[in-house]
């Protein structure tokens, strides 16, 4: 099995409801189309008619993130994740792989990770996992690694280089304070916890990245996945990665880099240098926007209606052309009349 890849067996897990939070990413597109159904068909036609992109072949992949599963049986978040899986399996053409951007579990418990693996087991395509802080800090990643493999990985798919890094590593605050694993996990669970401090990828991950991209050419399309954004969005809530500047420097030799991340549970976009960054919605709950000015306020979704459990959940579509410039299309609202500029797509 390829390192860091979990290929699930088909599991007829019962699915009863429909909600979805995924980001569908594409490469190989020339023409930008915004529309949930027509996209995939259009992609195939356009890409096959495009003789100037011999290296990148068209394909679709999906992202699911931040399910925050609890140990409680039949929890409402179980159903939302199951519905996301269902949605991916009903997408045509079928996404060729799925990336899970972290936080399967809420409290890092093995039974929560197992529950996630079982639900995601209905996906017939390979899944690549990176951890979130909620997966990690009960046992410092032992259960997660045992189930989902290496914490840093890369692979090539149809001309695109994909990288996944563990980005939630904090400095040891628990040993001096003699904290139990549960206390450590609790300190990490709270978004605004004053204890944990900023997280990052740290030297091992950075060294993996340096070695991984060293042989690659500058015109190689690169997609990178981390749990938190690779830019300083709102460090107080760890909407950041402390060593993101080093990551961006390592990847600076590439013409275009696409960064996808979880953790923020909201639509958010940024572009720094050659790197475009897109945040994923979570299947659990939406976070409010922090009190900072957004670089691209068009990507801000409306405040979610708490009375509507389906509000704030939906599908984001990212269409990338062969130069990795594209259109971001979000449809996260039950009432999609609210943000036409998002609904109709805008250039990234």
């Amino acid at each position: 099995m390829e390192e860091g890849v979990y290929v699930p067996e088909v599991d007829p897990y019962g699915i009863t409801r429909r909600e979805l939070v995924t980001v569908a990413g594409k490469s190989g597109l020339i023409t930008m189309i915004a529309g949930a159904v027509g996209l995939n068909v259009g992609m195939v036609k356009v890409a096959t008619a495009e003789p100037e992109s011999p290296r990148v072949q068209p394909f679709t992949f999906a992202i699911i993130s931040d399910s925050h599963l609890y140990s409680i049986p039949d929890h409402k978040f179980d159903g939302i994740l199951a519905d996301s899986v269902d949605k991916v399996m009903n997408t045509r053409p079928l996404p060729e792989f799925v990336v899970y951007c972290g936080d399967i579990a809420q409290n890092g418990r093995q039974d929560q990770l197992e529950k996630g693996r079982k639900i995601l087991g209905k996906l017939s395509m390979p899944i690549h996992f990176i951890p979130g802080e909620h997966d990690w800090y009960l046992d410092l990643g032992i259960a997660w690694r045992g189930m989902f493999g290496s914490q840093h990985w890369s692979f090539d798919h149809k001309g695109v280089h994909f990288i996944g890094l563990t980005s939630i590593l904090v400095r040891d605050f628990w040993t001096p304070a003699h904290m139990s694993p549960v206390e450590r996990m609790s300190a990490m669970e709270m978004l605004e916890s004053p204890i944990a401090g900023p997280w990052g990828i740290r030297e091992e991950g950075l060294e993996f990245l340096r070695k991984d991209v060293k042989p690659l050419r500058g015109d190689q399309p690169v997609v990178i996945f981390t749990h938190g954004p690779l830019w300083d969005y709102y460090p107080r809530w760890n909407f950041q990665t402390e060593d993101a500047p080093e990551v961006r420097q390592i990847l600076s030799k590439f013409q275009h880099v696409m960064s996808f991340h979880g953790h923020v549970h909201q639509t958010i976009f940024n572009k720094i240098g050659n790197m475009s960054s897109v945040g994923s919605l979570g299947t659990a709950w939406p976070w409010p926007y922090p009190n900072v000015k957004l670089a691209y306020p068009q990507s801000r979704m409306n405040r979610v209606d708490p009375a509507n459990k389906e509000d704030g959940l939906g599908v984001q579509h990212i269409d990338l052309d062969r130069g990795f410039k594209g259109i971001w299309h979000g449809d996260p609202f039950s009432d999609d009349l609210l943000q036409p500029e998002v609904r109709s797509g805008w250039k990234v």
Partner: protein, 173 residues
Amino acid sequence: MKMTELFRRIAAPAAVVALVSVGIFATRPLSARAPFTPAQLADQEKKLLEVVNHGRDLWHGSRKDMSTNGLACGNCHPDAAASNPQTFPKYQNDMGQVVALRDMINWCITGPLAGKEIDPDGTDMIAMEAYATYLYRGTTITPGLATAQTAPIVAIKSGTGYPRKASGIGYDK
């Protein structure tokens, strides 16, 4: 002059004055009007922050009957973000009436948290309101703002958004 006479004429009235003074001083903390001494103001702030701190604990799941699904207020409202205490009372579409913040808090407890509502006049509810309101201190009061999401004023790198004794663990110093 005998000492007893001296006491009657000088010491006793002085003692009365002193007692009256003590009495006035003792009742000063109960006074609701300025001027307050710095010590009195500090005491008021201390008592408020104790309640705010209790509210923060409740906000993050310290009272178990407020939730049956593991969620707490902080799941959706970190730093009380998007709780918008400055917009209440306001008309809530789904409730069909003008409601106070405490009504919305109980709505969230019984809805998304699937818990048991708390006494709207109880100390825990006051603490919940105190926490959210304290983090929005200085924000313009705009009743009836139905849909806008606002954020609390805390924009600091660490801490809790209000003065308190830090735990000393990690970055909480």
